[in-house]
């Protein structure tokens, strides 16, 4: 990023710069770069093993890239430990749903606000006035989000007993509770049926529009990506294969080859 760009305030919300990840001798990601702009829904696609989840885990700081940098509003996130990613406005959901199974829906969403709240064990034990006020405010916010995602009926239910589709909504609610600028969705359509996928697509768009959240979507389900993404990045074998509008990426010969194989193979 040049000084000129910085001065103009043009830098993207999230910039992935030449990121490579090596696991022993295996190159999981090889010099991947792309930008995520405010208000975008960016779809990250690619066949199995393309490096989508690896990239995702770099963004949530579970993996450390060997080279390259990831910048959030011009600041590198690579110096932050994993638990300090939520506070700069990056929220996420997990591929196979990673809720807190023994907690109620409300408590799951309450944990989502952890990065946006403060407390210490002594004030919490004594339930000091400021802790009470904080909890009251937090509850208002949590209830608003729970209603927004239509989870009122199950708000007090322990999440482990809920249907998979509902659990995915709880996960969304939990991620939204921290009021993220960027929401990373790891295969949100996985395990959902045809109808549920379309409802989900609408929901993701609604979240982007109504809550001003920028979305990075990793997805296998082509239909979903092509219908809601503004911008698509295709990966294969750790490299960026193509980037552009959904239509452009879909008709890219390299992408077609990666997904369907070519005649010469």
């Amino acid at each position: 990023m040049t000084q000129a760009q910085l001065a103009q305030g043009q830098y993207p919300l999230l910039a992935v710069r030449d990121v490579s990840v090596l696991f022993g001798g295996i190159i999981a990601l090889n010099g991947v770069s792309f930008d995520l702009h405010q208000g975008q829904i960016l779809g990250l696609i690619g066949p199995n093993g393309a490096g989508k989840t690896t990239l995702f885990n770099c963004l949530s700081r579970l993996y450390q890239p060997s080279t390259g940098d990831i910048l959030m509003e011009g600041q590198s996130i690579l110096t932050r430990p994993p638990h300090r990613i939520a506070e700069i406005g990056i929220g996420r959901t997990f591929q196979n749903v990673a809720l807190f199974p023994n907690l109620s829906v409300l408590d799951n969403v309450r944990v989502g606000t952890h990065a946006r709240t403060n407390s210490d064990i002594f004030s919490d034990s004594l339930k000091l006035p400021w802790v009470r006020r904080g909890e009251a405010e937090l509850n208002k916010r949590v209830h608003e989000i729970v209603s927004y995602l239509d989870l009122d009926d199950v708000a007090h239910t322990v999440v482990s007993g809920l249907p998979f589709g509902t659990q995915k909504r709880v996960e969304l609610a939990r991620a939204l509770a921290a009021d993220p600028k960027i929401l990373l969705l790891d295969e949100p359509a996985g395990g959902l049926n045809h109808e549920e996928v379309y409802v989900l697509g609408d929901l993701i768009r609604r979240i982007r529009d109504e809550r001003k959240v920028t979305i990075l979507l990793v997805e296998h389900h082509m239909g979903l990506v092509m219908s809601i993404a503004d911008h698509v990045v295709a990966l294969n074998f750790g490299r960026k294969l193509a980037e552009g509008t959904p239509a452009a990426v879909q008709s890219d010969p390299d992408v077609i080859k990666a997904y369907l194989g070519s005649k010469d193979q």
């Binding site: 949530s60 579970l62 994993p82 638990h83 300090r84 990613i85 939520a86 506070e87 929220g91 996420r92 997990f94 990673a98 809720l99 807190f100 199974p101 023994n102 907690l103 109620s104 409300l106 408590d107 309450r110 944990v111 989502g112 952890h114 990065a115 946006r116 709240t117 407390s119 210490d120 064990i121 919490d124 034990s125 004594l126 339930k127 802790v131 904080g134 909890e135 937090l138 007090h156 239910t157 322990v158 482990s160 007993g161 939990r174 921290a178």
Partner: protein, 338 residues
Amino acid sequence: MSAVEDVVTEAPAVEAVPKRSMTLGYGTSLVVLAALILTPLFVKNFIIFQMTQILYFGLAVLALNILTGGSGQFSLGQSAFYAVGAYTSAILMEHVGMNYALTLPVAGAICFGFGFLFGQPALRLSGVYLALATFALAVAMPQLLKLGYFEHWTGGVQGLVVTKPDAPFGLPMSQDMWLYYFTLAITIAIYIFSVNLLKSRSGRAFMAIRDNEIAASAMGVDVALYKTLAFGVSAGITGVAGGLGAIAVQFVAPDSFTITLAIQLFLGMVVGGVGWLPGSIVGAAFIIFVPNIAEGISKGLSGAVFGVLLFLVIFLVPHGARQVAIVAQQLIGKLKKT
């Protein structure tokens, strides 16, 4: 057995109101409180002493419950924290001449620090490995207390004799009864603090770590910090329990704090229901009374009888006292409907 299995599978439905999953309702709490306050007025001093024992052992079980039921970390080393608390109180009372009540916060603070520090290396371990590391702590503690180097303070193998406090302000009650009410007040206070803690942001962080560390971290929970804090809190409460124990028994000696004590506390937690705070008192009553009952049934085979009784409890109510409470709640609900 099918009836029992039904209950177990139905349990999540009852827990649908999570407010009560950790605690008792107001009505039940008041009844229990009234029983705890009134009973000593009608029983002999020895029974009062045993009730005091239940309270401070209950506190130690509660402490373990916060650690295991709350943050999901195992510990077989609670006897070590208990010993540090007991010795801190005893030494401060006998060597420094401090008032017995004032020694308790000191014991709690020292144990909090000790637990917090022990939590640091324990961070790298989980499950059975953590249990083994804490086991090592429990095994080491009695020998450390016997070390000649500390003998001037600890009394070495002999231990220390502690003076039993009288009731203050010339209250007309026996030492045992005063100590019981003193212990009861502290137990209630710590119980309320613990309930507050588990229902707060910090408590939710503990439980989030217990359920899924990676997700907790993605939500901004500093996993290392909260795991060590859980150790600190648990050790601190155990330390206060140890201090109370030292005052009640009027004696501390290294061999009262062996691994057996740690296992008893663990047993108390399981019998009371892991993660259910009121169960701690039930668990404590179990570890104090059931060995006596077993001895009453057969003097020579008391250990075996105790084993059978324990086996029965675990076989019939694997979720401990919590499960009994849930069944009772359901029965009352049914009675109310008809």
